[in-house]
């Protein structure tokens, strides 16, 4: 299959996903029960994106002290909890990772 064709079809499908419920519920109200379920979309999806990024290194789960990302992520989570500041969370999290990796190299 031509790459352009694959790309355009994927783009159309992705756009259809994004548009789907916005159009589906254009003229009728969302059932209240569904409303309740949808409240949990953000924490569910974002946690599902984050966890593999910090727990999995090279295809396997790393829970030991070798996992510098896990430590840095915990520090970032504390900053996010206390400050609710996106910029500060990213900067301190990144600094934490670089410092932890530098320390690990020393030993």
């Amino acid at each position: 299959m031509n790459i352009w064709v694959v790309m355009i079809i994927t783009g159309m499908i992705t756009y259809a996903f994004r548009l789907s419920f916005i159009i589906l519920f254009e003229h009728k109200d969302l059932p209240p029960a569904l409303h309740r379920w949808l409240r949990y979309v953000p924490p569910a999806v974002f946690a599902a994106i984050i966890f593999p990024e910090i727990f999995v290194r090279d295809g396997s789960v790393v829970l030991s002290s070798d996992n510098s990302r896990l430590f840095a992520a915990l520090i970032a989570a504390m900053v996010a909890w206390r400050t609710k500041n996106v910029l500060l969370t990213i900067l301190i999290g990144m600094a934490a990772l670089l410092i932890i990796q530098a320390i690990q190299k020393q030993f």
């Binding site: 790309m7 994927t10 992705t14 309740r36 994106i49 984050i50």
Partner: protein, 232 residues
């Protein structure tokens, strides 16, 4: 009620810190696309035809392999399936808008734009469903800021290459961005249970074919949240 102008600019402003993570991500995509043998035209067009970072990165891997086109479409679509959840979640707030707004904002419904916009819509006055407000301008500002940055940073990766040393773990900024968004959301037991179950399941299902793991994990997390909420 905030004016369209002020909503638009606060949307851009909210997106600015997140762009720190988006810029290296876009540049990495650009470099990977060329390394996989894609032409400059295809690499850059993908950024506005698909406009979804993680699926674009996977696309570079698949286009470089001998995987059949239909399998590529299926895999990339499953990765992007989460946008349906975003669509459902944001739909009630967009209901009063004209079709042109809906069709345009849907195109801008990325992870980052969704996260910031849903937080903004949920702030105070949650009963704006049928009432009028200008918060869609916030969505537009935040979505356009991300769109423009994504196009420019993927172009940067394509035309300039990445000058960042490999020892710099810049891909970590994506995880940090979502940590910054997620953690302040976890205000009750149900939300915490949702995130924990979804996160653990996402790790356990990492090897499920077609990248279905993320959607399975997210759905399990949502069910958990509702169950915990019902019990308490």
């Amino acid at each position: 009620m905030a004016s369209p102008r002020s909503e638009f600019f606060s949307g851009i402003k909210a997106q600015l810190p997140i762009l720190i993570g988006v810029i290296p991500f876009g540049m990495i995509y650009g470099v990977l696309a060329l390394e996989a043998g894609l032409s400059i035209g295809i690499a850059q067009s993908m950024s506005f035809i698909i406009f979804a970072g993680s699926s674009q990165i996977v696309a570079t891997q698949l286009f470089g392999s001998s995987v059949h086109g239909l399998v590529i479409i299926l895999t990339l679509s499953v990765i992007n399936l989460r946008h349906m959840l975003y669509s459902a979640s944001i739909a009630p707030y967009l209901k009063p808008l004209k079709p042109l707004w809906k069709w345009s904002l849907a195109y801008l419904l990325t992870d980052e734009a969704y996260a910031l916009t849903i937080i903004h819509y949920q702030e105070e006055d949650p009963a704006t469903e049928n009432g009028k407000n200008n918060r869609h301008w916030f969505f537009l500002g935040t979505g356009l800021a991300l769109w423009l940055t994504w196009q420019l940073s993927t172009a940067g990766g394509i035309f300039l290459g990445v000058i960042i040393p490999e020892s710099w773990p810049l891909d970590f900024t994506i995880a940090l961005t979502f940590i910054a968004i997620l953690v302040p959301m976890l205000r009750d037991r149900a939300g915490l249970a949702t995130a924990t179950v979804a996160g653990i399941l996402a790790v356990l299902t990492l090897n499920v074919p077609l990248k279905l793991g993320l959607v399975i994990a997210a759905l399990a997390g949502i069910i958990t949240g509702v169950l915990v909420e019902t019990k308490s």
